[in-house]
Protein backbone atom coordinates (compact mmCIF):
# COMPACT_ATOMS: atom_id res chain seq x y z
CA UNK A 1 0.00 0.00 0.00
CA UNK A 2 1.27 3.45 -0.90
CA UNK A 3 0.44 6.23 1.55
CA UNK A 4 0.88 9.98 1.12
CA UNK A 5 1.19 12.25 4.14
CA UNK A 6 0.85 15.98 3.45
CA UNK A 7 1.78 18.56 6.08
CA UNK A 8 1.83 17.99 9.81
CA UNK A 9 4.61 18.10 12.37
CA UNK A 10 5.47 15.70 15.19
CA UNK A 11 2.62 13.34 14.45
CA UNK A 12 4.12 12.71 11.01
CA UNK A 13 7.20 11.27 12.65
CA UNK A 14 5.22 8.76 14.68
CA UNK A 15 2.85 7.91 11.84
CA UNK A 16 5.82 7.33 9.56
CA UNK A 17 7.39 5.02 12.13
CA UNK A 18 4.17 3.02 12.40
CA UNK A 19 3.48 2.84 8.66
CA UNK A 20 7.01 1.87 7.70
CA UNK A 21 7.14 -0.87 10.32
CA UNK A 22 4.02 -2.30 8.71
CA UNK A 23 5.78 -2.33 5.38
CA UNK A 24 3.83 0.47 3.68
CA UNK A 25 5.34 2.55 0.93
CA UNK A 26 5.39 6.08 2.32
CA UNK A 27 5.72 9.52 0.72
CA UNK A 28 5.83 12.65 2.86
CA UNK A 29 5.21 16.15 1.49
CA UNK A 30 6.05 18.93 3.91
CA UNK A 31 6.90 22.62 3.70
CA UNK A 32 9.42 22.63 6.53
CA UNK A 33 12.85 22.05 5.04
CA UNK A 34 14.62 21.14 8.28
CA UNK A 35 11.88 18.67 9.14
CA UNK A 36 12.09 17.11 5.69
CA UNK A 37 15.85 16.62 6.07
CA UNK A 38 15.39 14.97 9.42
CA UNK A 39 12.65 12.67 8.15
CA UNK A 40 14.65 11.63 5.10
CA UNK A 41 17.63 10.76 7.27
CA UNK A 42 15.52 8.76 9.68
CA UNK A 43 13.11 6.86 7.46
CA UNK A 44 13.10 4.83 4.32
CA UNK A 45 10.46 7.04 2.80
CA UNK A 46 10.24 9.46 -0.11
CA UNK A 47 10.35 12.96 1.36
CA UNK A 48 9.43 15.97 -0.78
CA UNK A 49 9.72 19.57 0.40
CA UNK A 50 6.88 21.72 -0.89
CA UNK A 51 3.27 22.89 -0.72
CA UNK A 52 1.10 19.80 -0.99
CA UNK A 53 -1.97 21.77 -1.98
CA UNK A 54 -0.45 22.38 -5.40
CA UNK A 55 -1.33 19.73 -7.99
CA UNK A 56 2.07 19.75 -9.70
CA UNK A 57 3.81 19.26 -6.36
CA UNK A 58 1.75 16.17 -5.62
CA UNK A 59 2.25 14.94 -9.15
CA UNK A 60 6.04 15.29 -8.89
CA UNK A 61 5.95 13.41 -5.62
CA UNK A 62 4.23 10.54 -7.42
CA UNK A 63 0.68 10.76 -6.13
CA UNK A 64 -0.76 9.07 -9.23
CA UNK A 65 -0.37 5.56 -7.84
CA UNK A 66 -1.03 6.32 -4.16
CA UNK A 67 -3.72 4.31 -2.37
CA UNK A 68 -4.35 6.73 0.45
CA UNK A 69 -3.76 10.40 1.13
CA UNK A 70 -3.60 11.89 4.61
CA UNK A 71 -3.81 15.69 4.99
CA UNK A 72 -2.43 16.93 8.31
CA UNK A 73 -1.68 20.63 7.79
CA UNK A 74 -2.87 23.08 10.42
CA UNK A 75 -5.11 24.95 7.97
CA UNK A 76 -8.45 23.34 7.28
CA UNK A 77 -8.79 24.77 3.73
CA UNK A 78 -5.38 23.36 2.79
CA UNK A 79 -6.42 19.91 3.95
CA UNK A 80 -9.63 20.14 1.94
CA UNK A 81 -7.77 21.11 -1.21
CA UNK A 82 -5.18 18.34 -0.79
CA UNK A 83 -7.92 15.72 -0.46
CA UNK A 84 -9.90 17.12 -3.37
CA UNK A 85 -6.92 17.21 -5.72
CA UNK A 86 -6.17 13.60 -4.77
CA UNK A 87 -9.74 12.53 -5.35
CA UNK A 88 -10.78 14.61 -8.35
CA UNK A 89 -7.61 14.63 -10.41
CA UNK A 90 -5.99 11.36 -9.40
CA UNK A 91 -9.03 9.30 -8.47
CA UNK A 92 -7.75 8.32 -5.04
CA UNK A 93 -10.68 6.99 -3.07
CA UNK A 94 -9.21 6.97 0.43
CA UNK A 95 -8.65 10.52 1.59
CA UNK A 96 -8.20 11.46 5.18
CA UNK A 97 -8.19 14.96 6.70
CA UNK A 98 -7.67 16.52 10.09
CA UNK A 99 -9.81 19.57 10.86
CA UNK A 100 -9.46 22.16 13.61
CA UNK A 101 -12.98 23.53 13.48
CA UNK A 102 -15.30 20.63 14.40
CA UNK A 103 -18.02 22.12 12.19
CA UNK A 104 -15.84 21.35 9.22
CA UNK A 105 -16.35 17.61 9.70
CA UNK A 106 -19.76 17.77 8.06
CA UNK A 107 -18.64 20.24 5.42
CA UNK A 108 -15.63 18.17 4.37
CA UNK A 109 -17.76 15.05 4.11
CA UNK A 110 -20.30 16.84 1.95
CA UNK A 111 -17.47 18.03 -0.26
CA UNK A 112 -16.19 14.52 -0.80
CA UNK A 113 -13.46 13.85 1.77
CA UNK A 114 -13.62 10.21 2.79
CA UNK A 115 -12.62 10.36 6.48
CA UNK A 116 -12.52 13.50 8.62
CA UNK A 117 -11.16 13.73 12.13
CA UNK A 118 -11.39 16.67 14.49
CA UNK A 119 -8.72 16.63 17.16
CA UNK A 120 -10.54 19.44 18.95
CA UNK A 121 -13.62 17.28 19.22
CA UNK A 122 -11.79 14.21 20.45
CA UNK A 123 -9.86 16.11 23.10
CA UNK A 124 -12.83 18.09 24.33
CA UNK A 125 -15.06 15.05 24.61
CA UNK A 126 -12.33 13.16 26.45
CA UNK A 127 -11.86 15.99 28.92
CA UNK A 128 -15.57 16.48 29.35
CA UNK A 129 -16.18 12.85 30.14
CA UNK A 130 -13.22 12.58 32.47
CA UNK A 131 -14.24 15.69 34.31
CA UNK A 132 -17.76 14.44 34.85
CA UNK A 133 -17.14 10.92 35.97
CA UNK A 134 -14.06 9.48 37.65
CA UNK A 135 -15.03 5.85 37.15
CA UNK A 136 -14.76 6.11 33.38
CA UNK A 137 -11.27 5.00 32.51
CA UNK A 138 -11.25 5.56 28.84
CA UNK A 139 -13.54 7.03 26.33
CA UNK A 140 -13.18 6.94 22.62
CA UNK A 141 -15.56 8.33 20.05
CA UNK A 142 -15.85 6.17 16.94
CA UNK A 143 -17.82 6.30 13.71
CA UNK A 144 -17.75 10.13 13.65
CA UNK A 145 -18.93 10.46 17.23
CA UNK A 146 -22.05 8.45 16.56
CA UNK A 147 -20.96 5.82 19.00
CA UNK A 148 -18.44 5.72 21.82
CA UNK A 149 -16.47 3.11 23.61
CA UNK A 150 -15.87 3.51 27.33
CA UNK A 151 -14.37 1.56 30.17
CA UNK A 152 -16.13 1.63 33.53
CA UNK A 153 -14.82 0.07 36.72
CA UNK A 154 -17.29 -1.84 38.90
CA UNK A 155 -17.05 -1.23 42.62
CA UNK A 156 -18.44 -3.30 45.49
CA UNK A 157 -21.38 -1.00 46.18
CA UNK A 158 -22.60 -0.85 42.59
CA UNK A 159 -25.97 -2.48 41.93
CA UNK A 160 -24.72 -4.46 38.93
CA UNK A 161 -22.18 -6.37 41.00
CA UNK A 162 -23.15 -10.04 41.24
CA UNK A 163 -25.74 -9.79 38.51
CA UNK A 164 -25.73 -11.62 35.23
CA UNK A 165 -25.75 -9.43 32.15
CA UNK A 166 -29.23 -10.50 31.04
CA UNK A 167 -30.58 -9.48 34.45
CA UNK A 168 -29.48 -5.88 34.04
CA UNK A 169 -31.95 -3.41 32.62
CA UNK A 170 -29.46 -1.86 30.22
CA UNK A 171 -30.45 0.94 27.78
CA UNK A 172 -31.34 -0.29 24.32
CA UNK A 173 -28.62 1.71 22.61
CA UNK A 174 -25.78 0.28 24.67
CA UNK A 175 -24.01 -3.02 25.08
CA UNK A 176 -21.37 -4.46 27.40
CA UNK A 177 -18.97 -5.86 24.84
CA UNK A 178 -16.38 -7.39 27.13
CA UNK A 179 -15.13 -7.52 30.69
CA UNK A 180 -11.56 -7.18 31.85
CA UNK A 181 -11.07 -9.27 35.00
CA UNK A 182 -7.64 -9.93 36.53
CA UNK A 183 -6.03 -8.89 33.25
CA UNK A 184 -8.06 -11.50 31.39
CA UNK A 185 -10.57 -10.46 28.76
CA UNK A 186 -13.97 -12.12 28.89
CA UNK A 187 -16.35 -11.66 25.98
CA UNK A 188 -19.64 -10.72 27.63
CA UNK A 189 -22.60 -13.02 27.07
CA UNK A 190 -26.04 -12.97 28.66
CA UNK A 191 -25.08 -15.37 31.44
CA UNK A 192 -21.74 -13.71 32.28
CA UNK A 193 -21.76 -12.58 35.89
CA UNK A 194 -20.38 -9.17 36.79
CA UNK A 195 -18.01 -9.16 39.75
CA UNK A 196 -16.39 -6.60 42.00
CA UNK A 197 -13.41 -4.79 40.38
CA UNK A 198 -14.45 -5.82 36.88
CA UNK A 199 -13.73 -3.33 34.15
CA UNK A 200 -16.63 -3.20 31.71
CA UNK A 201 -15.96 -2.20 28.13
CA UNK A 202 -19.17 -0.61 26.93
CA UNK A 203 -20.21 0.47 23.49
CA UNK A 204 -23.04 2.98 23.42
CA UNK A 205 -24.61 5.88 21.64
CA UNK A 206 -23.41 9.11 23.32
CA UNK A 207 -26.90 10.16 24.38
CA UNK A 208 -27.44 7.10 26.59
CA UNK A 209 -24.07 7.34 28.35
CA UNK A 210 -25.40 8.81 31.54
CA UNK A 211 -28.19 6.23 31.58
CA UNK A 212 -25.59 3.49 31.23
CA UNK A 213 -23.62 4.87 34.14
CA UNK A 214 -26.72 5.16 36.27
CA UNK A 215 -27.53 1.57 35.51
CA UNK A 216 -24.09 0.37 36.55
CA UNK A 217 -23.50 2.54 39.58
CA UNK A 218 -27.04 3.25 40.68
CA UNK A 219 -26.46 7.00 40.74
CA UNK A 220 -25.83 9.88 38.39
CA UNK A 221 -23.36 12.64 39.11
Amino acid sequence: MKIFIVGGSKEVYFLAKAFISRGYDLTIVNENEEFCKRLSRTFKATVVKGDGSKPYMLEDAGIADADMVIALTENDPDNLVVCQIAEKIYGIKKTFAIVNDPENIQIFKQLGVDTVISTTNIISSLIEQRAIVDDIQNLMPIAEDKISLMEVDVAFEHPVRGKKIHEIDFPKDAIISCIVRHQEVIIAKGDTQIMDKDRLVIMSKPKVQSEVLKCIRGRVD
Binding site: S53, K54, P55, Y56, N75, D76, P77, D78, L80, V81, Q84, I85, K88, I89, D101, E103, N104, I107, Q110, L111
Partner: protein, 140 residues
Protein backbone atom coordinates in the same frame (compact mmCIF):
# COMPACT_ATOMS: atom_id res chain seq x y z
CA UNK B 1 -38.81 47.27 -3.47
CA UNK B 2 -36.10 45.24 -5.17
CA UNK B 3 -35.96 45.67 -8.89
CA UNK B 4 -34.84 42.88 -11.21
CA UNK B 5 -31.36 44.15 -11.85
CA UNK B 6 -30.46 44.33 -8.20
CA UNK B 7 -28.28 41.53 -6.88
CA UNK B 8 -27.35 40.45 -3.40
CA UNK B 9 -23.59 39.96 -3.47
CA UNK B 10 -21.35 38.61 -0.71
CA UNK B 11 -17.66 39.41 -1.09
CA UNK B 12 -15.25 37.42 1.05
CA UNK B 13 -11.93 39.17 1.57
CA UNK B 14 -11.61 42.94 1.49
CA UNK B 15 -8.10 43.19 0.09
CA UNK B 16 -7.18 45.36 -2.88
CA UNK B 17 -9.22 43.18 -5.22
CA UNK B 18 -12.21 42.59 -2.93
CA UNK B 19 -12.34 46.19 -1.80
CA UNK B 20 -12.14 47.54 -5.33
CA UNK B 21 -14.83 45.16 -6.51
CA UNK B 22 -17.09 46.14 -3.59
CA UNK B 23 -16.68 49.81 -4.50
CA UNK B 24 -17.46 49.12 -8.16
CA UNK B 25 -20.52 46.99 -7.51
CA UNK B 26 -21.79 49.35 -4.87
CA UNK B 27 -21.76 52.39 -7.15
CA UNK B 28 -25.15 53.95 -7.61
CA UNK B 29 -26.51 51.62 -4.93
CA UNK B 30 -27.69 49.21 -7.61
CA UNK B 31 -26.73 46.09 -5.70
CA UNK B 32 -26.78 45.19 -2.04
CA UNK B 33 -23.39 44.11 -0.86
CA UNK B 34 -21.92 42.43 2.20
CA UNK B 35 -18.15 42.32 2.61
CA UNK B 36 -16.54 39.85 5.03
CA UNK B 37 -12.96 40.18 6.25
CA UNK B 38 -11.31 39.06 9.45
CA UNK B 39 -9.30 42.22 9.66
CA UNK B 40 -11.21 45.40 10.45
CA UNK B 41 -8.51 47.64 8.97
CA UNK B 42 -9.22 46.15 5.54
CA UNK B 43 -12.55 47.94 5.41
CA UNK B 44 -10.68 51.26 5.14
CA UNK B 45 -10.30 50.39 1.45
CA UNK B 46 -14.02 50.93 0.97
CA UNK B 47 -15.19 54.32 -0.34
CA UNK B 48 -16.83 56.71 2.06
CA UNK B 49 -19.96 56.37 -0.07
CA UNK B 50 -20.02 52.57 0.26
CA UNK B 51 -23.47 51.73 1.51
CA UNK B 52 -23.23 47.97 1.95
CA UNK B 53 -22.56 46.02 5.13
CA UNK B 54 -19.25 44.83 6.53
CA UNK B 55 -18.72 41.84 8.79
CA UNK B 56 -15.46 41.48 10.66
CA UNK B 57 -15.08 37.70 11.03
CA UNK B 58 -13.62 34.52 9.61
CA UNK B 59 -15.73 33.54 6.63
CA UNK B 60 -14.79 29.90 7.04
CA UNK B 61 -17.06 29.67 10.06
CA UNK B 62 -20.51 28.56 9.02
CA UNK B 63 -22.13 30.85 11.60
CA UNK B 64 -20.56 33.88 9.95
CA UNK B 65 -21.86 32.89 6.53
CA UNK B 66 -25.32 32.33 7.96
CA UNK B 67 -25.17 35.74 9.59
CA UNK B 68 -24.43 37.17 6.14
CA UNK B 69 -27.57 35.37 4.92
CA UNK B 70 -25.60 33.39 2.39
CA UNK B 71 -28.57 31.21 1.47
CA UNK B 72 -30.33 34.17 -0.10
CA UNK B 73 -27.27 35.55 -1.90
CA UNK B 74 -27.33 35.75 -5.70
CA UNK B 75 -23.57 35.84 -5.97
CA UNK B 76 -20.68 34.89 -3.69
CA UNK B 77 -17.20 36.11 -4.61
CA UNK B 78 -14.12 34.77 -2.79
CA UNK B 79 -11.21 37.18 -3.21
CA UNK B 80 -8.83 36.54 -0.30
CA UNK B 81 -5.14 36.15 -1.10
CA UNK B 82 -5.25 32.47 -0.09
CA UNK B 83 -6.33 30.15 -2.90
CA UNK B 84 -7.34 27.34 -0.61
CA UNK B 85 -9.54 29.55 1.54
CA UNK B 86 -11.23 30.89 -1.60
CA UNK B 87 -11.82 27.38 -2.86
CA UNK B 88 -13.33 26.27 0.43
CA UNK B 89 -15.59 29.31 0.76
CA UNK B 90 -16.72 28.88 -2.84
CA UNK B 91 -17.58 25.24 -2.35
CA UNK B 92 -19.45 25.87 0.88
CA UNK B 93 -21.48 28.55 -0.93
CA UNK B 94 -22.16 26.31 -3.91
CA UNK B 95 -22.61 22.84 -2.48
CA UNK B 96 -23.99 23.53 0.97
CA UNK B 97 -25.97 26.74 0.57
CA UNK B 98 -26.83 26.32 -3.12
CA UNK B 99 -25.77 29.82 -4.16
CA UNK B 100 -26.46 30.29 -7.86
CA UNK B 101 -23.31 32.06 -8.96
CA UNK B 102 -19.99 31.56 -7.22
CA UNK B 103 -16.70 33.05 -8.35
CA UNK B 104 -13.32 32.41 -6.75
CA UNK B 105 -10.01 34.13 -7.21
CA UNK B 106 -7.27 31.65 -7.96
CA UNK B 107 -3.65 32.79 -7.99
CA UNK B 108 -2.33 29.39 -9.01
CA UNK B 109 -3.86 28.46 -12.38
CA UNK B 110 -2.85 24.81 -11.96
CA UNK B 111 -5.72 24.23 -9.52
CA UNK B 112 -8.29 25.41 -11.99
CA UNK B 113 -9.15 22.03 -13.46
CA UNK B 114 -10.26 20.67 -10.10
CA UNK B 115 -12.86 23.37 -9.71
CA UNK B 116 -14.20 23.77 -13.18
CA UNK B 117 -16.06 20.50 -12.76
CA UNK B 118 -17.59 21.74 -9.50
CA UNK B 119 -19.35 24.51 -11.39
CA UNK B 120 -17.33 27.17 -9.66
CA UNK B 121 -16.05 29.94 -11.87
CA UNK B 122 -12.48 30.88 -11.19
CA UNK B 123 -10.60 34.00 -12.11
CA UNK B 124 -6.84 33.87 -12.13
CA UNK B 125 -5.26 37.33 -11.94
CA UNK B 126 -1.97 35.72 -12.89
CA UNK B 127 -3.36 34.20 -16.07
CA UNK B 128 -5.29 37.37 -16.93
CA UNK B 129 -2.20 39.55 -16.51
CA UNK B 130 -0.10 37.16 -18.58
CA UNK B 131 -2.69 37.26 -21.37
CA UNK B 132 -2.81 41.04 -21.32
CA UNK B 133 0.99 41.27 -21.37
CA UNK B 134 1.05 38.87 -24.27
CA UNK B 135 -1.53 40.90 -26.13
CA UNK B 136 0.44 44.12 -25.66
CA UNK B 137 3.76 42.52 -26.58
CA UNK B 138 2.43 40.91 -29.76
CA UNK B 139 0.36 43.94 -30.78
CA UNK B 140 3.03 46.05 -32.46
Amino acid sequence: MLNKTEKYVIIVGCGRLGGHLANMLGEGKKNSIVVIDKNEASFERLNASFSGFTIEANALEIEVLKQAKIASADVVVATTNNDNINIMVAQIAKSIFGVNQVVARLTDPSKEKVYSELNIETISPTALSALEFQRIILRK
